[in-house]
Symmetry: C2
Subunit: 72 residues, 2 copies
């Protein structure tokens, strides 16, 4: 069963790395299916033509991550 979904990259915050095939690991603000934006860490093909695996973070999770990293 296939499921349609939409996404809208609202803000490209940072590109963390790029591999030899041009795929990038990015931190973005993304709205999934028209819902409120979430922070998203994910691999992307060039020009965002394909998405790889990744993880979304709520505002609260993102704040906790930020607090952790600034202490390290």
């Amino acid at each position: 069963m296939s499921q349609e979904f939409s996404y809208d990259i609202l803000e490209e915050i940072a590109v963390l790395s790029e591999n030899t095939k041009g795929w990038t690991k990015e931190l973005n603000l993304i709205s999934w299916n028209g819902r409120p934006a979430k922070f998203d860490l994910r691999d992307w093909a060039p020009n965002h033509e394909k998405m790889g695996k990744g993880i979304t973070l709520t505002n609260e999770e993102f704040a906790a991550l930020k607090e952790t990293l600034t202490k390290m």
Copy 2:
């Protein structure tokens, strides 16, 4: 085809959130298949009995993420 793999959680750095079923979103240092440790953002069942989707970050990607977040 199934593939065997091993993982070893070397350091539990932070728990970013916990949902009503007890699953947690965590930042850990994990060695996959005996390889050098990577930073790992992932959902976990209670007591790490099951792992959900997540993303690994190299040291360089983690440093880039940290630099980005400390500027926000």
